[in-house]
């Protein structure tokens, strides 16, 4: 249920392929900067048909004292069905991502997916704007080629602490997005500035639908803009997961549904949700 009307026809659902558990060969696993790494894996037929916004549950290996028990959810960063390859862009933070980072090419890693519901695109070819920070960029990156292929103009606002940490700029540009980088160090990433930029894009006819991921502040800004302009939008959200497929109810978050606050499971009812229903965290 969309809380406000929007001027675009109902979005096209992208049916996900059947999820499965499999061992994938690691093609490469390289640092991108001091915090992030990019892992590319070879996957069996079908798995590379995954949709932008879907994710995999990754079984991180045990390594010495580091013994991750749960799988780790990771968005698909790059989808290459021709090569039968998928990539994950991940931040090395805790137990699981640290053991993931140790894996060498040709090692295998156990994946479960693709899972969850991906992004939906407006039907009428409206121009779209992606708004992301940090890990959120990984989640939205594959939306660019999909949207371009479906005939949408794409603008991406990439937010980061410093210009050096703006990730994936080339990835977005190569895929055909118009990229605007905003950073804390340059003072351009403030919410007010981003809201102004969004209004500017709208005035230029470049903002027909809005997608956001990776920052609570940006999501709230996007909601304000979408509400004001009556735009269709989606937010991709995170929550800790155990099963990844809707069985355990650990990954719930609160959502606005009409006048009610309801709990929805990020794994199976998301991770992509209608922008205006998401509540801040």
């Amino acid at each position: 249920m969309q809380a406000t009307p929007h001027p675009l026809p109902s979005p096209t659902p992208l049916a996900p392929p059947r999820a499965g558990e499999f061992d994938a060969r690691i093609v490469s696993n390289e640092p991108v900067n001091a915090e992030y790494r990019l892992m590319t894996v070879e996957v069996p037929d079908g798995a590379a048909e995954a949709r932008p916004g879907q994710f995999f549950q990754i079984l991180c290996p045990h390594s010495g004292a580091l013994q991750p028990f749960f799988r780790r959810p990771m968005s698909i960063y790059r989808i290459d069905p021709a090569a039968g390859q998928l990539s994950f862009l991940y931040k090395v933070t805790g137990t699981g991502t640290r053991t993931m980072a140790e894996l060498e090419p040709d090692a295998t890693i156990n994946l479960f997916g693709p899972l969850g519901n991906g992004f939906t695109l407006p039907e009428d070819g409206a121009p779209i704007v992606l708004l992301g920070r940090g890990v959120g960029l990984a989640t939205m990156a594959p939306l660019v080629p999909f949207a371009r292929k479906a005939g949408h103009a794409v603008t991406a606002i990439l937010s980061a602490r410093t210009p050096e940490l703006v990730m994936s700029e080339a990835e977005f540009v190569d895929a055909g997005a118009n990229v605007l980088a905003v950073t804390d160090s340059q003072g351009t990433s403030a919410v007010e500035n981003v809201e102004d930029m969004l209004h500017g894009l709208h005035a230029e006819g470049r903002l027909g639908a809005l997608y956001v991921c990776g920052s609570n502040r940006l999501m709230l800004a996007a909601q304000r803009v979408a509400r004001r302009l009556g735009l269709f939008g989606e937010a991709a959200l995170e929550q800790q997961m155990a099963c990844g497929v809707g069985m355990c109810f650990c990954c719930v978050r609160p959502f606005r549904q009409g006048d009610e606050i309801v709990h929805r499971r990020v794994c199976s009812e998301g991770p992509v949700f209608p922008l205006l229903e998401a509540l801040e965290w």
Partner: protein, 313 residues
């Protein structure tokens, strides 16, 4: 061909492997062949609607996980209308897990879920009884007996009593459940536990304490299952930390009739099927024609010593 079927607490299962309540839902049909399971066991349902506990609801610990999901429930009416029909097309017995916070509430929901399509009722008496200061029904033999008697009168379906490992007197509780009319025991639910994030000095669960499940608890629950097997005549279903067929075999060897697999499914969605395959392989390799014959084959010679066993010091 190995005969994997077992008679278990009033129903016949094609094989002794089923999911543990709260770790299974119809969503799994997209991922594994549900038809191969010995039974379906639903997430516990309560009389009314409930939200469940605050997040974080899970946390990983060495060899397992903590959960304080609570019992988010859409209530028994929605359950009967929406959930039960989801399983109508499968030729697999459906076991419905229920709970309530008073004995009468328990009997009432038991009566209401006794509808066509349900093969047995699993009563989650590991949940708090507000008439006993919030202690779980299955903490003491007296409260177990009382609630089981009411439940027994509420349904003609087979009744499985799911015990809590947090009691200090599980054999006596098991006997009370049997006396109260249980057709089988599920041993057991999660063990109350906690963990702390030393950076933030906060409990890692929103609810502070939660239930420990997974490999870490297997040796404890296996011991309890064994104690229950020796205390009662009705079948015991082992549940706790089963990740592989080898784990399931331990439960069968100490005397369980069947097993439930919980947390393992979160790590390996196909875990239950791997367990079924492994049980079949073991039987074949060891010349066992019927898996039911494996139940209770723990080598007897050491039994006597353990009879007097109470604590290790």
């Amino acid at each position: 061909m190995v005969d994997l079927s077992v008679d278990c607490g009033g129903i016949r299962l094609a094989n002794p492997v089923m999911p543990a309540s709260g770790t299974f839902a119809s969503e799994l049909a997209d991922i594994i062949e549900l038809q191969r399971l010995g039974a379906f066991v639903t997430k516990t349902v309560t009389p009314g609607k409930r939200q469940g506990n605050p997040t974080p609801r899970v946390s990983e610990v060495p060899g397992g996980m903590l959960n304080s999901i609570g019992i988010p429930s859409k209530g028994v009416d929605a359950f009967i209308d929406e959930t039960i029909p989801l399983y109508a097309d499968y030729d697999v017995p459906l076991v419905v897990s229920i709970s309530a916070d008073t004995p009468d509430g328990f009997a009432d929901i038991c009566r209401r879920v006794s509808v066509p399509g349900v093969a047995a009722v699993e009563v989650n008496i590991s949940c708090p009884n507000i008439e006993d200061d919030g202690r779980a029904f299955a903490m003491r033999p007296e409260t177990t007996l009382a609630v089981m008697r009411k439940l027994r009168q509420a349904t003609d379906l087979p009744l499985w009593a799911k015990l809590t490992p947090n009691t200090g007197e599980i054999p006596a509780v098991a006997q009370a459940a049997e006396e109260g009319g249980a057709d089988a025991l599920v041993v057991a639910n999660t063990i109350l536990a906690m963990s702390v994030d030393i950076r933030t000095r906060r409990a890692s669960l929103g609810r502070v304490m939660g239930g420990l499940s997974g490999p870490a608890i297997k040796p404890i629950i296996l011991r309890m299952a064994y104690q229950c097997v020796r205390a009662v005549q009705i079948p015991v279903i082992g549940c706790g930390g089963i990740m592989t067929a080898a784990d399931a075999l331990e439960y069968l060897i100490v005397g369980c009739r069947a097993v439930q697999v919980g947390t393992a499914t979160f790590v390996h969605p196909g875990a239950m099927l791997t367990v079924i395959d492994g049980l079949e392989d073991y039987c074949r390799q060891n010349g066992i024609d019927r898996i039911a014959d494996l139940t209770g084959t723990l080598s007897a010679e050491a039994h006597d010593a353990s009879l007097e066993w109470e604590a290790i010091a």
